[in-house]
Structures are given as structure tokens and as C-alpha cells.
């Protein structure tokens, strides 16, 4: 293994070691110590991650290539080797760094947060258990990040799911928490079911479970038009099915549209858990998976991804407007932002989506921790309607939270090329979408592009990136149906996100204003509010991270990791400098067009929220009265829970009722009828026929059987040994017969 890989592997194993330690001796370590052990472990991982990142940064492409070592062959499944190894590229490293760094902040925060909670079950504190779970979680997430094969990724994936179940249900004595945990777990299973079928298809059709191998097999399969591309199911090619099924996993884990219902409920877990799992890392796993399987997605599958993302981001953002629980607002905003990322993946904005993932991880962790601070400070009051004016009591929390709000709203100064994370990342996603809808068409279906001289075709803003790293100038011929062109995307896929880009600043501002500004609405809550230092330190660190982890730091790293997508069109945003080197093409037109459309969305959103809530809740309540039906629809979250309850639970109940009725009336009736008939017949036959003629005959037969049985029964002694003897005798006879024959 190369040194880099060793660094990563050790970084993965340290949290596992911490988990083992805490699981076995955590109870003896006691309350704060157990937490600090976990913090120490994850901090060590962060240091390793930083070292790895710096080392990677200083390497030439050749050195990077050389740093890969052969994966361990774990077993052979038929002819397919199951290998475990480290997937070494920029994305892995930056994700590794992000996960460890954000986790460290959250761990430190948790030590402060959990110390104040009574968490005794049967007189034993489960404080250490919390940190054991957190460590296990970090281990699984890091394993997921470095996994180089779909199988290993799936293993880590399931571990992540298990940890989320454990952590959401941490307060399992609370019915709602245990329900939420089960809901999260079951909902994720639905997605994983698709994932594992997709995995089976990868295994069956591509015959290689490693990421690189599968991509290679996919490309070869396409070139040879293998069964995967020629066979269709329900009018959709198997390749597309495979991509969609694999993506199902991401739907579950990233809380996308049909399976998004678990994430808001998951807010039952302790707030640091919400920050860690439901903002920074676990839900990111879905996007990360989509990024990894991007090369296996056909254009149709990409469209599916985009549509799912679009639906999700709009639904979640609308629901977020009316939520009053501070954590739920954040939860819905998370879903919405994840929708943006998935949409980005779907329209081909690979780099932009991952960039958004990274920036989002920072500011969402920041806001969740901020909300945790608020909740803790207000003695577990989560209702924003009872807060207000907390700025004076907890200034650090207030202003760091504002940084997060600005970042998620995409605040920036368009012309000056300055802004917070969301400003660039969301803009890039939208730019790509714009390009797919309105961009200039490129000519022909045959493309020969070489890395590095992209700019020679000014209007062809699209590149078919082949594995040009190895063979530049490779000519790839691809037929029309696999060739998504600009102008082929439905305009809705651009305009809905744009619209939601106006909604996002609104509800985030609403959340911040209601919590921190205005007049205190509940004197009791206000009087006791306070903030603690241990808990706001991570906030400051994350706020700084949010400020700096933007365009200039992360964007190039992600861009460097851009895969060599095959059969797909990788679009890129503005970053001509970085992308140029990577061979992706840029459309400046898109960005110019976007400035008037969405560039000032955050100003509009903030302004609207400020106008509506600057004097407290009265104005908003009046507005809600006016728009009663819409408001009700949103408050009930589009009735998704009710719908699932009705269709799934109600459907089951309906089937049950039908079965019951059928059982009771039809079958019972038939049985009763036949019983009655039988009774009549038997009364007749019993008296007349049986006692006369039959009995005599039967008795005769019975007696005969008895006698015969007595004869035959003699060898059936019920003794094992005698049976062995008989069997041996039989074999002996057979053998002797063979000899004599």
C-alpha cells in the first residue's frame, strides 16, 4: 500500500478503535472522558486526512496515479474477484477531509451538549454509548468514502444506515424517537432494496464490482452493444434500469422525493446527531453514491435523477416555509438542498453538485449546531414562535447562524465574483441546467475532443469526456438516443429550481429572524437563555470554514476529481480555469443569463421575510388565514405521511377486511353448508349402512391388519442399533450379490 493509502486506512480505523474501546470500557471511562476519547480519535483522523490532503495536493498526476496500489482480493465469487481497496482520487480525499473535519466540530459540540442531558437507563448512563455510536458512524462513513468497490461501498452503506437507526433512536424510551428510528430504517431499506437489485445487475451484466472495473465494463458493453443496452424492460433499456435501481439507494439515504418522509422525523435524535447525520455526512452519502455511479448512468437514468431532484427540492422548500419547529425547518431545508444536488447530478453538473455538497456540509452542520445551542439554551424549547430576541443572550450563536443563512441563501455580489458557498455552488447547478435547456446546440453526433484545446470550438460547450486521461483524442461514436443534447431538457427542470432559489432565502431568513431578532415572545424562555463556550467554539470554527470553504478552496479539488464520464455529458459551470485543465467545457453565456434571473434572489427572499416577520407573528398569521387551504396543505407536508398511511397501512387494512369478509361469509358458509349436508347423509348412512354391512367388513379388515401389523412390527423395534444392524445387513447382501454376480 502506498503511504497515502496507509494514512487513509489508519484514519478509517481510528474511529473504529475508538468505538471498540468505548463499547467495552466506555462505561468505566465515565461521562466527559468517554466523549473526549471519541473527540481525540476523530481529531486524529482529521489530522491524518489533512496530511493526506496536503500530500495529494503536492503530487503530480503521475505520482497520483502511482499512489494507487492493487486492492486486496478477498474472495472469488465465481470468476469475479471481490476486492477491497482504497479509491484514491481527489473526491475521496476532499470528502474524507470534510467528514472528519465536520465530525470533529460536531464531536466537540456533543461533549458539551450531551453532558447536560440526563441519559440514564436503569441507573446506567449511556453517555459513552452515544460516542461509541458516533465513532462507529464516522468509521462507516469514512469506509464508504474510501471504498473502491460497490460491494464494500454497500457494506459501509448499510453500516451507516444501522448507525443512523441507533442514533435517531438514542432516546429510545421516547415512543416518538423509537418510531422515528424505525421509520428511518425501514424507509432506507426500501431504497436499499433497489440498490441491491442494481448491485445484482452490475454483478450479472458487468461482472465486476469495483468502481473502475464496472465503469470499464459499462463502456465496453456499450461499445459492443451488449445485452444490457439492447434488452428492454417496459420500454426502458436494462442499462437505464440498472442506473435507476442503483440510484434508489441514494433516494432512500438522501431523503429524495418518494422516500423523503423519514428525515424530518429523524429530528427526534439528539441535535448533534441531526447535525452529523442529517446535514453533514449521512445524507451526503446518497449524493456521493450518485457521484460514484455517475459513470453508470445512461441519459435516461440521468433524466430520472434530475426529475426526482427537482420534485424533492420544490416540495421540501415549500413545506419549510410553514414549519415552526426550528429543527424541522432545517431538516426540510436539508432535503431541499439535497434536491439541488441530485438535480445537479441529473443534469450533469457533477462538479457543481459535489461542490454544493461540500459547502452545504459546512453551513448545515453550522446551523444545526446553532439550533442545538438554541435548544439547549432555551431548555429544550424547539418552537420558534416562543423564541425571538435571542440575539442579545447568545450573540455568537446568532451571528454564526447568520453566516450559515447567508451561505445557504447564496448571498454574494454577482459582479465582484464574491460570495459565500451557496452562491457559487447553486449558481453552477443552475447554469448547467440553463445550458441544458437553452444553451447553444452543438453539431453532430460524432465528437472528437481533446483535453486542453476545448476552447477551439467556441460554441460547443459540451464535451464528451472519454477516458481521455489515458488516450487523448479518442474518437467516440455514439448514437442519437444516448446523446442528450442541449435544448432537450424540459424548461421546468430549470425554472422550478430558480423559483425555489427565491423561496430558500425566505424561509431561512424567517427562521433566523424569528429565533434571534424581534422582541422576545416568551419571557420565560428568554429569561433562561444562555450559551456555553464549549458549544460555541465549534460554531466559530464551522463559520470560518463556511466562509473560506468556498470557491477557491474546494472547487478546484472537486474539479480535479471529476470522473471521466462515459456516455454522459458533463457540463461545467463557470470555473474555466480549473475546468479547462480537466477538459470540461464552460458556457459563460449561462452565467451571464443567470445574473438577472437569480443573482439577487437572496435579497428578494430576505426582504420578503423581513417585511413579513419584522413585527412578530401577527402579519404572518393574517396571511395564513387568507391563504388557508394552501397553508393547511403545507402544514400537513403535502399529506405525504397521511398518503403513505392511507395507501400502505390503509391498503393492508382493506385487504385484511376483504379477506376477513370472504373468510367469514363465503368459506364459513360453504363449510357450514357442507357440514349440514354431511350430517344428514351420515345420519342416514350411519344407521342404515354402517352398523349393518360395513362394520362387519371393516372389523374383518381391521383384525386382519392387526394381525399382519403384529407380524411386521416385530423388526420395527424402535432401537437405533437394530436399524443399523438391518442397514448393514442390507449392504452386506448387496455387496455379496455383487461379488457373486
Amino acid at each position: 500500500m502506498s503511504q497515502l493509502e496507509v494514512l487513509l486506512v489508519i484514519g478509517v480505523l481510528i474511529p473504529l478503535a475508538s468505538f471498540v474501546l468505548l463499547a467495552f470500557v466506555g462505561a468505566r471511562l465515565g461521562k466527559p472522558a468517554a466523549g473526549w476519547v471519541a473527540v481525540l480519535a476523530i481529531a486524529a483522523s482529521t489530522v491524518l486526512a489533512t496530511m493526506a490532503l496536503l500530500q495529494w495536493h503536492g503530487m503530480t498526476p503521475d505520482q497520483r496515479l502511482a499512489a494507487h496500489s492493487a486492492p486486496l482480493v478477498w474472495a472469488h465469487l465465481g470468476a469475479v474477484p471481490i476486492t477491497f481497496g482504497v479509491n484514491l482520487d481527489s473526491l475521496t480525499l476532499i470528502m474524507f477531509f470534510m467528514v472528519t473535519f465536520v465530525s470533529t466540530c460536531i464531536f466537540v459540540f456533543s461533549v458539551g451538549y450531551m453532558a447536560g442531558h440526563s441519559d440514564e437507563i436503569d441507573g446506567v448512563s449511556k453517555f459513552h454509548r452515544f460516542f461509541a455510536y458516533l465513532s462507529l458512524f464516522c468509521f462507516s462513513m469514512l469506509l464508504l468514502v474510501i471504498a473502491d468497490s460497490l460491494l464494500l461501498l454497500f457494506i459501509a452503506w448499510e453500516l451507516v444506515g444501522l448507525c443512523s437507526y441507533l442514533l435517531i433512536g438514542y432516546y429510545f424510551h421516547k415512543k416518538s424517537a423509537s418510531n422515528a428510528a424505525i421509520k428511518a430504517f425501514v424507509t432506507n431499506r426500501v431504497g436499499d432494496f433497489g440498490f441491491i437489485i442494481g448491485l445484482g445487475m452490475v454483478f450479472a451484466y458487468l461482472g465486476d464490482l469495483s468502481l473502475a472495473g464496472a465503469a470499464q465494463a459499462f463502456r465496453d458493453g456499450y461499445a459492443q452493444q451488449s445485452a444490457l443496452f439492447t434488452q428492454h424492460l417496459l420500454g426502458v433499456s436494462l442499462a437505464t434500469w440498472m442506473g435507476m435501481l442503483l440510484f434508489c439507494g441514494a433516494i432512500g439515504k438522501s431523503a429524495q422525493f418518494p422516500l423523503h418522509v423519514w428525515l424530518p422525523d429523524a429530528m427526534e435524535g439528539p441535535t448533534p446527531v441531526s447535525a452529523l447525520i442529517h446535514a453533514a455526512t449521512m445524507v451526503a452519502a446518497g449524493v456521493y453514491l450518485t457521484a460514484r455511479i455517475f459513470v453508470l448512468l445512461t441519459p435516461e437514468a440521468q433524466l430520472f435523477v434530475a426529475v426526482i431532484g427537482c420534485i424533492t427540492l420544490s416540495i421540501a422548500a415549500l413545506v419549510a416555509i410553514v414549519q415552526t419547529d426550528i429543527k424541522r425547518v432545517l431538516a426540510y431545508s436539508t432535503i431541499s438542498q439535497l434536491g439541488y444536488m441530485i438535480l445537479g447530478m441529473g443534469v450533469g453538473a457533477w462538479i457543481a453538485a459535489l461542490f454544493h455538497l461540500l459547502t452545504h456540509a459546512f453551513f448545515k452542520a453550522l446551523m444545526f449546531l446553532g439550533s442545538g445551542q438554541v435548544i439547549e439554551g432555551c431548555h429544550h424549547e424547539q418552537d420558534m414562535r416562543k423564541m425571538g430576541g435571542l440575539c442579545r443572550k447568545m450573540p455568537v450563536t446568532c451571528w454564526t447562524f447568520l453566516v450559515g443563512v447567508l451561505a445557504i441563501a447564496g448571498a454574494g455580489i454577482p459582479a465582484a465574483h464574491f460570495g459565500l458557498g451557496g452562491y457559487f455552488s447553486k449558481d453552477e447547478i443552475l447554469a448547467v441546467a440553463w445550458h441544458r435547456v437553452y444553451g447553444a446546440a452543438h453539431g453532430g453526433h460524432v465528437g472528437t475532443w481533446e483535453r486542453g484545446n476545448v476552447g477551439t470550438e467556441p460554441d460547443t460547450r459540451v464535451v464528451l469526456a472519454s477516458y481521455a486521461q489515458h488516450d487523448p483524442g479518442e474518437q467516440v461514436v455514439h448514437p442519437g438516443h444516448l446523446n442528450p443534447e442541449p435544448r432537450t431538457l424540459n424548461p421546468l427542470l430549470f425554472w422550478i429550481p430558480v423559483l425555489i432559489a427565491y423561496v430558500t432565502p425566505f424561509y431561512m431568513m424567517r427562521c433566523w429572524w424569528l429565533t434571534f431578532m424581534g422582541r422576545p415572545r416568551d419571557e420565560h424562555v428568554y429569561a433562561h437563555a444562555h450559551e456555553s463556550k464549549l458549544m460555541y467554539l465549534p460554531l466559530v470554527v464551522l463559520a470560518a470554514g463556511t466562509l473560506f470553504a468556498s470557491y477557491y478552496l474546494f472547487r478546484p479539488m472537486v474539479a480535479a476529481a471529476a470522473p471521466q464520464p462515459f456516455l454522459t455529458w458533463a457540463y461545467d459551470g463557470e470555473a474555466a480555469e480549473a475546468a479547462h485543465a480537466q477538459g470540461a467545457l464552460i458556457d459563460h453565456g449561462a452565467h451571464r443569463a443567470l445574473v438577472p434571473i437569480v443573482g439577487f434572489a437572496f435579497v428578494a427572499g430576505f426582504l420578503a421575510a423581513w417585511l413579513l416577520y419584522r413585527r412578530g407573528l401577527t402579519l404572518a398569521e393574517r396571511l395564513a388565514q387568507t391563504l388557508r387551504p394552501l397553508h393547511t396543505l403545507l402544514v400537513h407536508k403535502f399529506y405525504f405521511d397521511e398518503l403513505y398511511g392511507l395507501v400502505l397501512v390503509g391498503g393492508t387494512m382493506l385487504v385484511k377486511a376483504i379477506c376477513y369478509a370472504f373468510d367469514k361469509y363465503v368459506i364459513d358458509g360453504l363449510v357450514n353448508l357442507s357440514a349440514r349436508v354431511t350430517e344428514r347423509v351420515s345420519r342416514f348412512s350411519g344407521v342404515v349402512l354402517d352398523q349393518g354391512a360395513v362394520d362387519g367388513a371393516v372389523n374383518a379388515v381391521g383384525r386382519g391388519t392387526w394381525e399382519l401389523g403384529g407380524l411386521v412390527r416385530r423388526p420395527q423395534v424402535g432401537r437405533v442399533r437394530n436399524y443399523i444392524l438391518f442397514a448393514t445387513g442390507g449392504v452386506a447382501v448387496l455387496v455379496l450379490w455383487l461379488v457373486l454376480a
Partner: protein, 510 residues
């Protein structure tokens, strides 16, 4: 009572008339035997195969018998001189005899190495019997001495002059003459068989135990496993003996032993896996040669995990050899003597022989696997020139760099550690024994195994981490060795103060 002096002990027991005759007979027989042995040896060089083996074995036996007869003749003729000599040089002579027996038994193998394997086996068994009997008698005396010193006594002092060195030989003679008692109601056949079933595996494991790269009966590719298997086999004899004694204490002892040995075989096996993993083989000579480069290349000091494995291996062998603190099967305060309660005389001696043979084998195995096998702490490469030089250089090489003497020395050292622990630690209860196995030894060995696996996968040899930890472990081991040595020197220097007033100055050799 008249005082019994050394002079009395050295007085001849033979009447003036009988003495010349005895001397004549002994010397005559001795010469005949030795000549016969020589003739057979010469004959053997012309023979091949089975007859060669038989001839050699008979020759060795004749040589030993003849030597003994000549020795007896000398003793009878010059009792006083021999007595004084033994008094002065008793222990060195005894140790020399041990070495001589081994050399006599092994010389043919080394002189004619390309004869059939079965010949080597026969000779190895003869050598092993000789070695085991001598070692057992030495170790029993040694154990009594160590026990005495630890308890501020002197231990056996009288028989044989210098520190009672011949005590075990005298005891052995006594045991041969004792009545062979069979317990009433017991199963006589099983009672008799049990002693052999215990003794034979303990003896035959010496076939595969290398004393050096060349001094090995059979250099099997599964040698290590064979030794472990034979370690486990002795238990059956103990079980049978305990059952056949028709005595509930014996039975309890036997059950305890079986329980304990089976349980500790698992951590033992796990600890063994670590040297196997490092060496990539089960062949003991290969494992031994791996550690030829000085004491920092000894397996125990390779990295922290091998060090822990060495410790767990030591503990597990303690349990396998039923030594304190795991000596429950023969806990004298509870079970009289456990499974050996009903045994007496020669059969009891067989059990004791088996026990001490296993102790030595365990110590030697520890040395081979973890502590440099038959190599001295100096790198063998320094003495490479001597290894092929003339005979005296080769001999010197064996003493200074690597040879069977080093393995015997290390084996005796680990036996000494076992003895030391026995007289220092209290016995633990059976449930504590099992608890220690399942709750402590098993997890520790498993974790170490896992850690070693990852170590080998992830840490390349020669990397900074590997070298640093190797160094640290070596220093730790060296410190422990220095500590033991300094305690020993201290004890030797102030032995009179330590033993206290019990020292009786007129005792011989005190």
C-alpha cells in the same frame, strides 16, 4: 548419636574379598560391551536401512551400558577418590554427562546424515529418552533447590556432596524399588496404560523438536503443529488414569486437567499463529533461522503484538503444563495429588517425567518461536566463518553463536521461570482459571492476531514505525533480562543474609 561425616559417606561398602571380584566383573563386562558397541558401529557403516537402524540402536545401548559398567568399576575400586571428585566437580560432571548422553545418542545421526529417516527416528527416540530422564532428574532437584531458596531454606543438601546434586538420582533409585500398588476397584489395565499414554506423547514430541537447525529428529513441515498435538494428547492419559484410580480426588483432578488443557489450547493456538504468520511456515527450523540476526530480530521483539503473543504463549503453556498458578489438577491442599494420588513407584515417576519433559518442551518451544531459538544474542552472521572452519572453530561457534547448547540453556531458563512462578504465585480457583481463559486470554490473543494481520498488511518491514517499535520492544526485553540478571546477582552476593540463620556451615558445599 554419632555424627555422620563425609568420611563415613565415602567409605567403601564392599568387603575386601568382594571388591576385586566386582571390579573384575564390571571392568570386564564394560570392556566387552564397549568393544561390542564399537564392532557393531563399524558393522553398521556397511549396513543399510532397517538393519542399520537396529544395529545403531543396539550399539548405542551397549555403549551406554558398557560406559556405566566401567564407571561402576572405577567407583568400586576408588570410592574415596571418586567421592571427593564428585564432591568438588559434581554439578559440572552431571551437566557434562547430560551433554555426553545427547552427543552419544546423536553422533551417528550427525555423522551419517543421509541414512533413511526411520533411522533418525529410532535414534531420536533413544536420545530423547536419555535427555528426558536426565533432564527430569536434574529439574526435580533444581525445583527443590529453587523452592528452598525462595522460602529461605537450603533445599536438599546431603546426597552427592555439592548442594545435594544427586538427590534425584537417589530418589529415582528408590522409586524403582517401590511396590507397584493398584487401587482396589479400579480398572487395572487402564491404570497401567494411563502412565504410558501420558509419557509416550511427551517423549515423542522430542522427535520434532529441533535443538538446532541440524539437531532435529525429523524436520517436519508441520513440526510445530505436531508438537502442539502431542502436548494435547497427554491429557487422555491423565483422564484415563484419574478415572481408573477409582478415587474421586483423582477423578476431579483429571476432569480439571482436561477442562483446563482443552480451554487453554485455544489461546495457545492463537498465540502460535503469530510466529506462523511472521514466518509463513510451520517448520520450526525455518522459524528458528528467521531469528539468526541478533537478539533484536527475535520474534518476540519484532513489534508489540508479537511481544504480547509471547507473553500469552508463556501463560498458556503454564496452563498446558499444569504449573502454578494453574496447577489445579494436582492441587495438594484440595485433591491430595489429583490424578496422581493412587500412583506410586515407577508409574508415578513416568508421570513426573512426562511433566518435566513437557515443561522443557514448552520452554524450548517458547525459545524457538519467540526468543531466538538456538541462536545467541549475537548475530549469527558474525560467526559465519567459524561455522565452516576446523572442528574446534565449529565447537566454538556452537558455544558463542548458535547451537543446541543455547537452546538447552534457554529451555532451562524458561523452566526456571515456571519454577519461580510456582513458588511465588498462589493457586487460583477453577472458575478463575476458566474466566481468565475465556474473558482475558481469548480476547487478547484474538485482538493481537487481528492486529498482527493488519500490521503485516499495512506496515512495511524497514519502515520507520516498524523499526522504532522493534527497538522499543527490544529495549523493553533487554531491561527485563537485565532486571532478572541483577536480581540473581544480588541474591548470589547476599545469599547468606537472604537465607539467614538456617545456614549450617558444616553442611557440605554450603
Amino acid at each position: 548419636m554419632a555424627e555422620f561425616t563425609t568420611e563415613d559417606a565415602l567409605r567403601s561398602r564392599w568387603s575386601a574379598a568382594a571388591r576385586p571380584r566386582a571390579v573384575r566383573w564390571f571392568s570386564g563386562l564394560g570392556v566387552v560391551f564397549v568393544l561390542g558397541a564399537a564392532a557393531l558401529g563399524l558393522l553398521a557403516t556397511r549396513l543399510t536401512g532397517m538393519s542399520y537402524a537396529v544395529a545403531l540402536a543396539v550399539a548405542v545401548v551397549l555403549l551406554l551400558t558398557g560406559g556405566s559398567c566401567l564407571g561402576a568399576a572405577v567407583v568400586v575400586q576408588y570410592p574415596r577418590a571418586v567421592g571427593r571428585l564428585l564432591q568438588r566437580l559434581g554439578l559440572p560432571l552431571f551437566l557434562l554427562a547430560v551433554a555426553a548422553i545427547i552427543v552419544v545418542a546423536w553422533a551417528p545421526v550427525l555423522l551419517w546424515p543421509d541414512k533413511p529417516l526411520i533411522v533418525r527416528d529410532v535414534l531420536a527416540v533413544v536420545g530423547a529418552v536419555g535427555f528426558v530422564s536426565l533432564f527430569a532428574s536434574f529439574a526435580i532437584w533444581w525445583e527443590r533447590k529453587v523452592a528452598g531458596r525462595i522460602q529461605s531454606r537450603l533445599g536438599p543438601m546431603r546426597v552427592g556432596g555439592w548442594h545435594g546434586w544427586a538427590q534425584s538420582i537417589a530418589d529415582g533409585l528408590k522409586l524403582f524399588q517401590k511396590e507397584d500398588i493398584l487401587p482396589g476397584g479400579g480398572d487395572a489395565v487402564l491404570f497401567r496404560m494411563a502412565a504410558y499414554v501420558t509419557f509416550v506423547p511427551a517423549l515423542s514430541l522430542f522427535i520434532a523438536l529441533p535443538f538446532s537447525a541440524a539437531w532435529v529428529g525429523r524436520d517436519l513441515d508441520v513440526g510445530l503443529l505436531l508438537i502442539v498435538a502431542l502436548f494435547g494428547l497427554g491429557v487422555i492419559g491423565v483422564l484415563l488414569g484419574g478415572w481408573a484410580s477409582n478415587n474421586k480426588w483423582s477423578m476431579y483432578g483429571a476432569m480439571r486437567e482436561a477442562c483446563q488443557v482443552i480451554s487453554y489450547e485455544i489461546p495457545l493456538g492463537f498465540s502460535l499463529l503469530i510466529p506462523i504468520m511472521v514466518a509463513g511456515t510451520l517448520r520450526l527450523t525455518t522459524i528458528g533461522e528467521l531469528q539468526a540476526g541478533g537478539f533484536w530480530t527475535w520474534l518476540a521483539f519484532r513489534n508489540p503484538f508479537t511481544l504480547i503473543a509471547a507473553l500469552t504463549f508463556l501463560i498458556a503453556t503454564l496452563a498446558s503444563c499444569k504449573r502454578a498458578p494453574f496447577d489445579l489438577p494436582e492441587a495438594e491442599s484440595e485433591l491430595v495429588a489429583g490424578y496422581m494420588t493412587e500412583y506410586s513407584g515407577f508409574r508415578w515417576a513416568l508421570f513426573m517425567f512426562a511433566e518435566y519433559a513437557e515443561m522443557f518442551a514448552a520452554g524450548a518451544l517458547t525459545a524457538i518461536l519467540f526468543f531466538g531459538a538456538w541462536h545467541s544474542p549475537l548475530p549469527a552472521a558474525w560467526g559465519a566463518a567459524w561455522a565452516t572452519g576446523p572442528l574446534w572453530q565449529q565447537a566454538l561457534h556452537g558455544v558463542v553463536f548458535s547451537g543446541p547448547l543455547w537452546l538447552i540453556f534457554k529451555g532451562i531458563f524458561f523452566v526456571y521461570v515456571q519454577i519461580w512462578l510456582r513458588w511465588t504465585l498462589p493457586r487460583i480457583r477453577l472458575d478463575q482459571v476458566m474466566h481468565a481463559c475465556v474473558q482475558f486470554m481469548l480476547p487478547v490473543t484474538m485482538v493481537v492476531l487481528l492486529a498482527q494481520t493488519f500490521w503485516q498488511l499495512l506496515v512495511p518491514a524497514g519502515s520507520v514505525l516498524a523499526v522504532a517499535l522493534n527497538l522499543a520492544c527490544t529495549v523493553l526485553g533487554a531491561l527485563v533480562a537485565l532486571g532478572i540478571a541483577s536480581i540473581a546477582v544480588y541474591g548470589l552476593r547476599y545469599r547468606r543474609r537472604l537465607v539467614g540463620t538456617l545456614v549450617v556451615d558444616h553442611l557440605p558445599g554450603s
